[in-house]
Symmetry: C2
Subunit: 274 residues, 2 copies
Amino acid sequence: MTKQQLIENIRRRESFLCVGLDSDRKKLPHHLLGDDDPIYSFNKAIIDATAPYCVAYKPNVAFYESEGVEGWITLEKTVNYLKQNYPDHLIIADAKRGDIGNTSAMYARCFFEKLDVGALTIAPYMGEDSVTPFLTYPNKWVIVLALTSNKGSHDFQLLEDKASGERLFEHVLRRSQVWGNESNTMFVVGATQGRMFEDVRKVAPRHFLLVPGVGAQGGSLEEVCRYGMTDECGLLVNSSRGIIFADTSEQFAQVAGEKARELQEEMKTYLNRC
Amino acid sequence: MTKQQLIENIRRRESFLCVGLDSDRKKLPHHLLGDDDPIYSFNKAIIDATAPYCVAYKPNVAFYESEGVEGWITLEKTVNYLKQNYPDHLIIADAKRGDIGNTSAMYARCFFEKLDVGALTIAPYMGEDSVTPFLTYPNKWVIVLALTSNKGSHDFQLLEDKASGERLFEHVLRRSQVWGNESNTMFVVGATQGRMFEDVRKVAPRHFLLVPGVGAQGGSLEEVCRYGMTDECGLLVNSSRGIIFADTSEQFAQVAGEKARELQEEMKTYLNRC
């Protein structure tokens, strides 16, 4: 998906919502547990109910890997279901991969050829040759961790470099722009970071940001938009648990759809201002 | 595996060699390609030929993931083959995972429960809560990236923190020791880093280090031992391509065994000094 297509999808659907498919077997509605593949049944219902209100889906790969081989089969089926039924929705594999060059090339083959998703999250600790193999695929997105939503983000990401005066996350934002551009690279910035979005925008004024942490993690959508939105929107805001596990009765999908619609309606008001 | 068991294995086998199972389908000996699962056939032959000369195996998870679901099946079979036939060898899943707490807990479930390997490599960018879920498993090892073997290691790992004067990799070494200890945590330090092992040992004098980069990446075993060895050895030195793809004829396993034996003999001389 190109940046222009993404922006058009956001405008048309009046939404920059990404629904996180953190589909934990232990949290599934009980009535699904007798199905052949309960997680796949769950994902399909969630996707059908939320698709009108979002522009992207983000399967969190850990939740599938934790099921072993069966989980990878579920992940493949979910991705194929999305591609067949909702080809305009960006599929982001949230996998946070990254290794030396020849190994990152293997991860790229996994996610951009085998699974063939549209975007992948990347951990930048190992530097340039761990990121660039993912950038060789046209119309695919690399989403580099910059300033994450969790408490541990303060351990290393805020270290201030003596030579440049930049903090580590700013250094990651700046260096990554030498390797890729705003048409193939996004950055992860947690919704819990509040006004730090202003600092992110100083270094990356036009890049799309993938923003987790709204909902269960406590981030504010209003703050994210106030400090992080651009005139092209520039945001994909993810909600996982707050949508997909809002209800665990037989009405779970309907409630998930309502939660997604509520977020979409709030997003619409912010989009009208940008 | 406990630290004591690892040290005993090293003493008994006079080796601190880890064989990296970076089993790329494109590099397999041609005569295996007709097998049902050529990568598994390859791994079994490599393992049988090299087991007397090493103490650990390190499947590089990217090479299996790049094959999709089939690759995960091969990885599971390989791990099971090792556990059944070589229970004294440490199995290190080289996966470089790391995410927010609840997601890292899922990766831990995947590698320490489902696959049930003895050790896992972890990327530390996201800080404490991305690492600690892996530390709750008794007798399992968390191997945190510190100073890696690749060129990109210079992009971020050497940034010098203004407040403490420490470089990022030193900060990772020090902070990680608050979360774990020398009985459940190792660090990745690339063999290409030469005298930097002295700096690593100032911060982590007694931890085991997993050292990739000998062989194809150009690191020197002699230098690694001179600057990084402790009186308990304290090193697991990995070689992948230099052993497993040393030959691609029908004698590939025999040649791999010889390459492993050559490294083991060199290691024996260094062990006699420590």
